[in-house]
């Protein structure tokens, strides 16, 4: 009862994440990789990602503030970030990264700033962690 309710909630949350475009197919792939031998795989990966992404975002911010801006470096950082975001299925973040890179190419620093803020929001653990926790606790 209680449990079923939780499960349902998790399911709904998960679905909404997909619907809102936060997650994509790749996340499903990760879920499929999880099995009895690796019950917490998704959670582990997500944790790793959050840690890594916050570091990446930090680096990005620092690089942005530096003057003159080294767009090449910024581009590289962004490329990295995009890679990990896409691997975890973070669709919106990935899209943001793509835009970032475009701005980077165009040398548009302000665009960067804006995007960075947006990406932070997208990566915000609260968006997804809450999704993770219930699932693992239900197991």
């Amino acid at each position: 009862m209680e449990r079923n309710q939780l499960r349902r909630q998790v399911r709904l949350m998960r679905q909404s994440l997909f619907d809102q475009g936060f997650l994509d197919e790749q996340f499903v792939q990760l879920e499929e990789l999880q099995d009895d031998a690796n019950p917490n795989f998704v959670e582990e990966v997500a944790t790793l990602y959050y840690r890594d992404s916050s570091r990446s975002l930090q680096i990005l911010e620092q690089a942005l503030q530096r003057n003159p801006r080294d767009f090449n470096k910024l581009d590289n950082y962004m490329q990295q970030f995009k890679g990990s975001s896409s691997s975890i299925g973070a669709k919106k973040v990935k899209a943001d990264c793509q835009q970032f890179r475009e701005y980077c190419n165009a040398g548009n620093a302000e665009g960067w700033q804006g995007k960075l803020g947006q990406s932070r929001h997208h990566v915000d653990p609260s968006n997804q962690e809450s999704h993770q926790q219930p699932e693992s606790s239900l197991d």
């Binding site: 990760l30 990789l33 990990s84």
Partner: protein
């Protein structure tokens, strides 16, 4: 483990071609495949590891390229395949790719979130057997075993082919093909070629065909020994048997040496393509890394150059690209190698190279730089020669060396200058004599052909394959590699010379052209591409050569005026493209390696071709025009600016370190009026 053992047993059990998917090595295959994953992103690394484990592979992960390399070196034969990310902070993925290819000869799969065409192309040219776009799906990983199988199959064939290496006329093609086993067409092309080659020779094959040699890991020391032996023998005379004797390493077989030699030649070729660029840049010689031929850089350089040559790239971009490309691998110093090569080109058909007149000034300043790198006296001479011939910009013109003197001189420097260039030196040195003999006279009209032949001879030797010293027309092309002197490649003069355009024309670069033949670096890139192509298609060269043989005579007069020495490289390049533009010269140059390939090699060359053609066309028009307009002329050439920028971008993206290396002294992008 299973794989290698299985393969071995497979081979012994049956004769060539026995390796069939049906007769898998073990029942489990591809399960148990030993994969090494390299990625600095922990998230991706974890996901990949999980996926690979799900595929029942044995996974080893590491997040730094250096660690990966040491792991590979320590456990020779401990891995079957390597998967590496492109963008890594400590070492560029492509560099790792090359190193692995050279030292361990393992299939390497590149992956990246970047799916830009240029990056993927880079993967191809650097020898990656596949390229995965992130996010990587498990389905993509399920089939990676095919690359292991394919490589083993090709290797086996390489062994068979190795006998052919010693045959004089054989072109070195097949073994190099193995590097590109991933692409289907290449595979088929190679296989068919290989089959053809195989038919030609009978003796050597028998020994090797039934035996599957255990994989030999080419450690740095072993490779050093190898290079030493090759240099001692002379690149064109270096045959596996002799190298083996000189190396005197127990347990090493002739086949091992043969296949490694092929790779090495390929590497040199790439370098020479790159060096052409560098020549313009001036001095720095690429310091080749023994272990990793630095092919990476040359490759990239070449690509750039080729592009540059085509006139697409503004001189500056060429330079940058070149730098990036060159820088990557090891060339820190700058241009040394390229210079040499370029010079060769210049020497060859200066007149041919007539690149944009404008180049003139560029070249004049540049050539000096080029020469600088080259220790020998030749440099000065070369330069002079180059100027006269108004050859293409960079090394490309080397071909022009046809002038006879020029060639030799050009070659000489090559030989001497590079440290890395051991091989290059060898080759150049060797070639020089050849060229001289063949060249007899200025390239310009007939000289070209002879030069070409001479060139070819060299090229061939470089190739390791059939060396036809004087093949009069065909040889030109064959010689693309080492000295990159192949003019066509020269177009690479990095950025410096807009020349590209000038090439087209007139074929024979008039001796009068004093401008420095700057080989546009742009050409390099194409060269690089062509290298591979060339290997396969030595035939193409022949065709090209013919073209080359230039019709300098025809153009002689016109060349002078319009052609600035700087133009050089491009010339070869463009002409070949056109097929007729500049007369044979352009063709020859181009065909030298790149040019012809361009035509043939649709893939990478596509771009170049387009570029070249455009350039050549333009050049023609312009050539008559004037020296002054070179820059402007060149601008026009840049129809393909976007190409260049794409390249540049790519370079910038991927090449962190490369930029540094790009230190072409002579090559001041700024100078280039473009």
């Amino acid at each position: 483990m299973h794989l290698s053992n299985g393969m071995g047993s497979m081979s012994t059990a049956s004769s060539s071609g026995a390796w069939k998917s049906g007769d898998v090595v073990t029942d489990q295959f591809p399960a148990g495949l030993r994969v090494l994953v390299v990625d600095d992103d922990p998230t991706c690394l974890m996901i990949l590891e999980r996926m690979l484990r799900t595929c029942l592979y044995e996974v080893t992960k590491c997040n730094r390229a250096e660690i990966a390399l040491s792991l590979l070196r320590e456990n020779k034969n401990g891995f079957d395949i390597v998967i590496s990310d492109v963008h890594m902070p400590d070492m560029d993925g492509f560099k790792l790719l090359e190193q692995v290819g050279l030292e361990m000869d393992l299939p390497v799969i590149m992956m990246s979130a970047d799916d830009g065409q240029s990056v993927v192309m880079k993967g191809v040219t650097h020898g990656a057997c596949d390229y995965l776009i992130k996010p990587v799906r498990i389905e993509a990983l399920k089939n990676i075993w095919q690359h292991v199988v394919r490589k083993k199959k090709n290797e086996w064939k390489d062994v068979e082919q190795s006998g052919s290496v010693e045959e004089g006329d054989r072109q070195q093609k097949p073994s190099e093909d193995a590097d590109y086993s991933s692409s289907a067409n290449e595979g088929t092309w190679k296989n068919s070629k290989r089959r053809k080659d195989e038919e030609e020779e009978t003796d050597e094959r028998d020994d090797s065909s039934t035996l599957k040699k255990p994989r030999v890991v080419w450690s740095v020391e072993l490779h050093q020994q190898f290079v030493g032996a090759v240099n001692q023998l002379g690149i064109d005379k270096a045959v596996p048997k002799k190298i083996l004797e000189l190396m005197n390493v127990p347990g090493l077989t002739r086949e091992n040496v043969a296949s490694h030699l092929q790779k090495y030649r390929l590497y040199l070729r790439r370098l020479s393509g790159v060096s052409q660029h560098q020549n313009n840049l001036g001095n720095s010689f690429m310091s080749p890394q023994e272990a990793s031929f630095g092919a990476m850089s040359s490759l990239s350089g070449l690509d750039l150059q080729t592009l540059a040559v085509t006139g697409q790239l503004p001189a500056q971009s060429l330079a940058t690209l070149q730098a990036a490309g060159l820088g990557r691998s090891t060339i820190k110093s700058g241009v040394p190698m390229p210079l040499v090569d370029q010079r060769n080109l210049f020497g060859f058909e200066n007149p041919k190279l007539r690149f944009a007149e404008g180049q003139h000034h560029l070249s004049s300043s540049k050539p000096m730089n080029l020469l600088r790198g080259i220790p020998t006296t030749m440099e000065a001479k070369q330069l002079a020669n180059l100027h006269q011939s108004a050859q293409s910009l960079g090394a490309v013109n080397m071909q022009v060396n046809a002038h006879g003197v020029q060639n030799s001189s050009l070659l000489m420097p090559v030989a001497q200058s590079q440290p890395r260039g051991q091989i290059l030196n060898e080759t150049s040195g060797n070639h020089v004599p050849r060229l001289s003999s063949s060249m007899g006279h200025p390239i310009m009209s007939n000289g070209m052909s002879s030069g070409v032949s001479g060139r070819n001879g060299i090229v061939d030797s470089g190739r390791g394959g059939g060396y036809n010293p004087m093949q009069q027309n065909s040889s030109m092309l064959n010689y693309p590699l080492n000295n990159s002197s192949q003019l066509p490649c020269n177009s690479f003069t990095l950025g410096s010379t807009p020349v590209m355009s000038s090439l087209t024309s007139k074929g024979a670069f008039p001796e009068d052209v004093n401008s420095d033949v700057k080989i546009s670096s742009g050409f390099m890139p194409s060269y690089d591409m062509f290298n591979e192509l060339q290997q396969h298609k030595s035939n193409d060269w022949d065709l090209q050569n013919v073209g080359l043989t230039f019709d300098p005579s025809q153009h002689t007069n016109s060349m002078h005026n319009s052609l600035d020495p700087s133009v050089i490289v491009h010339q070869g390049f463009s002409s070949s493209q056109r097929g007729g533009q500049s007369g044979s010269v352009g063709k020859a140059l181009f065909s030298m390696g790149e040019g012809s390939h361009l035509g043939n090699v649709q893939n990478t060359s596509q771009r170049l071709n387009g570029l070249v053609v455009d350039n050549t066309v333009r050049i023609k028009a312009e050539s008559a025009a004037d020296a002054a307009s070179q820059t402007s002329f060149f601008h026009e050439q840049y129809g393909q600016d976007d190409l260049m920028s794409a390249l540049l971008k790519q370079q910038q993206d991927g090449l962190g370190p490369a930029e540094n290396e790009f230190d072409f002294d002579g090559y001041s992008l700024d100078n280039i009026p473009v």
